[in-house]
């Protein structure tokens, strides 16, 4: 009897957690499916006559049009998606390559003072890039990278690197040394031993680092809208962000939801590995 009640309690709590997590997304999605009439007179919690106008609008091309009394801003959505994907993939690549190299150095080769190097790198995570952007902009202009995707890729990489180096180096540090040594005895160079054995072993940690990068970048729209002014070069976040959200917030919500689908799919596919990777890095101390 008691056990059964406990099971019920547990199930209820799980349902509550799911409801709490999903409700805001459900809520904004419902609003984005409404017609203007229903937006005003309908029930906020559900939609009676769903319309996909806000979604199809995103693909109507680059002309500004008038709908009712509202001027629909130009939204080259597909282009923005393409830009976002390019920047995201490049950032993940730069972050993981630089991160793995540094993590191997810090976790395995351990040069003098590695503990402090590791802390300094990690501490740089708390620097809010958003308040540094006047001098950041100077750097970017000096490098000739304004209105260039490369600027964002560089900045985004530095935002995700500290955490990635931290977990990867924690993992490499705790990996038994015999694993590498046995490969070296077989005649492999340190580089091949690393690439063939240690790197594949750390793939879950790499997944964790990659997903963390996605989450970190997905949160930014400020840097994107500052460094990419050309509407043809903007990312989804920057493009929708600088739009006049007060008039067309439903369009923006629709855009976010649409852009979120692939991101959520990737995250769902890798969520389990994300946790496994974090756990692997955390074993024997953070």
């Amino acid at each position: 009897m008691k056990r059964r009640r406990q099971r019920w309690q547990h199930a209820m709590l799980l349902a509550l957690a799911a409801l709490y997590s999903l409700f805001p997304i459900y809520f904004i999605t419902v609003q984005s499916l409404k017609t203007a009439e229903e937006d005003v007179f309908g029930n906020p919690l559900y939609v009676v006559n769903p319309t996909f106008v806000n979604y199809t609008e995103l693909f109507e091309g680059a002309e500004a049009r008038v709908r009712g009394y509202v001027i629909v801003p130009r939204v080259p959505f597909l282009l923005w998606v393409l830009n976002s994907v390019t920047i995201l993939l490049a950032t993940i690549a730069v972050t993981l390559v630089a991160g793995v190299l540094a993590a191997y150095a810090l976790g395995r080769l351990q040069p003098p003072g590695w503990r402090w190097w590791r802390r300094v790198l990690f501490a740089s995570y708390v620097v809010p890039h958003t308040i540094l952007f006047i001098p950041l902009y100077q750097v970017i202009v000096k490098l000739g990278l304004d209105d260039n995707h490369l600027a964002l890729i560089l900045i985004y990489s530095t935002m995700a690197l500290p955490f990635c180096v931290w977990i990867l180096s924690a993992y490499y540090r705790h990996l038994p040394r015999e694993i590498e040594d046995s490969a070296l005895v077989e005649g492999a160079t340190p580089a091949t031993a690393f690439l063939r054995i240690m790197l594949p072993m750390s793939r879950n940690v790499l997944v964790a680092a990659g997903l963390f990068t996605i989450g970190t970048i997905g949160n930014d729209f400020m840097l994107a809208s500052i460094f990419l002014l050309d509407p043809e070069k903007q990312t989804v976040a920057a493009g929708l962000g600088v739009m006049d959200v007060s008039l067309e917030e439903l369009l923006a919500v629709a855009g976010v939801n649409l852009a979120a689908i692939p991101v959520v799919a990737v995250c769902a596919a890798f969520a389990r590995r994300y946790v496994q990777g974090l756990t692997a890095a955390m074993l024997e101390g953070a």
Partner: protein
């Protein structure tokens, strides 16, 4: 082969080990270079620039080259009531959201750690708030809680807003709505992160705890919390900057319509809107002592120096 040759040359074992170590250290520095160049390259100059500018009278209104004024900006700043209000708001914002994130994240992590039916689905649901692109959802959220136009629920929200603002002062509701978003997103991250932490703790420890303690409540405070502490510290650390980014996003989009500015957004306002770059830099840098204290405490919790003597 190599060993034989070295022995013929008469190198002792320790000398050989020393050369190998030296080569290893050189390789380590070479491998660290890309990451260090990236991080320092992007951050070092901007930080130095902020420090320098905060010591001058640089502004978009002043004519001629910026003049060195020493600590004048800081001296002026600490006499400003706006500044202390900003400090109080910043500390309040971080403290409240952090506690709330842990209050949401720890129970959800414990819930998901226990095997049960439907756990996989709920886990994905809990993962979603963090995975959902936050940059614009924060705006969507903001507009949802503060509907700009007449929508079906704006009367209800209006009443709520009025009630909150009457109790806590004008602007409290908008501030609260950004906080809610931050807690929702950060709590999800904390939950998943702590779930990973729980998995890393040997289950025997919990089994012993079951025998040694009388109630679940006692077990939670005496065993689970101390074991999770390093991971909680890490999670708190990681939610620092995202908290700031959320605020900055809304602040920028709404033209500073949040009445309670935190230090960072206030600095942004001074710098970008008013062109008072020097004051803005001083305000931004006033965050440094706060961050340094937080870092010092957190490193002590999640990167204890005594493990593994070198």
């Amino acid at each position: 082969m190599a060993v034989a040759r070295n022995e013929r040359r008469g190198l002792s074992l320790s000398a050989r080990r020393a050369t190998r170590r030296r080569r290893e250290v050189a390789r380590a520095y070479a491998l660290m270079t890309p990451a260090l160049v990236l991080v320092l390259g992007v951050l070092a100059y901007p930080l130095a620039w902020e420090v320098w500018v905060s010591l001058t009278n640089f502004s978009s209104r002043a004519e001629g080259a910026p003049v060195w004024v020493g600590l004048a900006n800081y001296r002026k700043m600490v006499h400003e009531t706006e500044f202390w209000r900003g400090v109080a708001t910043t500390v309040f914002y971080f403290a409240t959201t952090t506690v709330a994130k842990l209050a949401v994240g720890v129970p959800m992590a414990l819930l998901l750690a226990r095997p049960s039916r439907g756990r996989a689905v709920v886990f994905l649901a809990v993962f979603l708030p963090w995975a959902y692109p936050g940059g614009v959802t924060v705006v969507a959220w903001y507009w949802m809680l503060n509907p700009p136009l007449i929508t079906s629920y704006s009367v209800f929200i209006g009443d709520l807003k009025h009630a909150v603002d009457v109790v806590f002062g004008g602007g409290a509701y908008t501030f609260l709505s950004v906080m809610l978003f931050n807690i929702w997103r950060g709590g999800s991250f904390t939950a998943v992160f702590l779930l990973a932490g729980l998995n890393a703790i040997p289950t025997e420890l919990f089994d012993y705890a079951r025998l040694e303690t009388r109630s679940a409540w006692q077990r939670f405070w005496r065993v689970t919390v101390p074991l999770l502490k390093p991971y909680m510290a890490l999670a708190v650390f990681l939610s620092f900057t995202t908290a700031f980014a959320d605020l900055a996003n809304v602040w920028m989009l709404t033209g500073g319509r949040i009445i309670f500015p935190v230090l960072g957004t206030y600095a942004y306002w001074l710098g970008i809107r008013n062109g008072q770059f020097a004051e803005a830099a001083a305000y931004s840098l006033s965050l440094v002592p706060l961050l340094a204290i937080a870092l010092f405490l957190l490193f002590r919790w999640f990167d204890p120096p005594q493990e593994e003597p070198e």
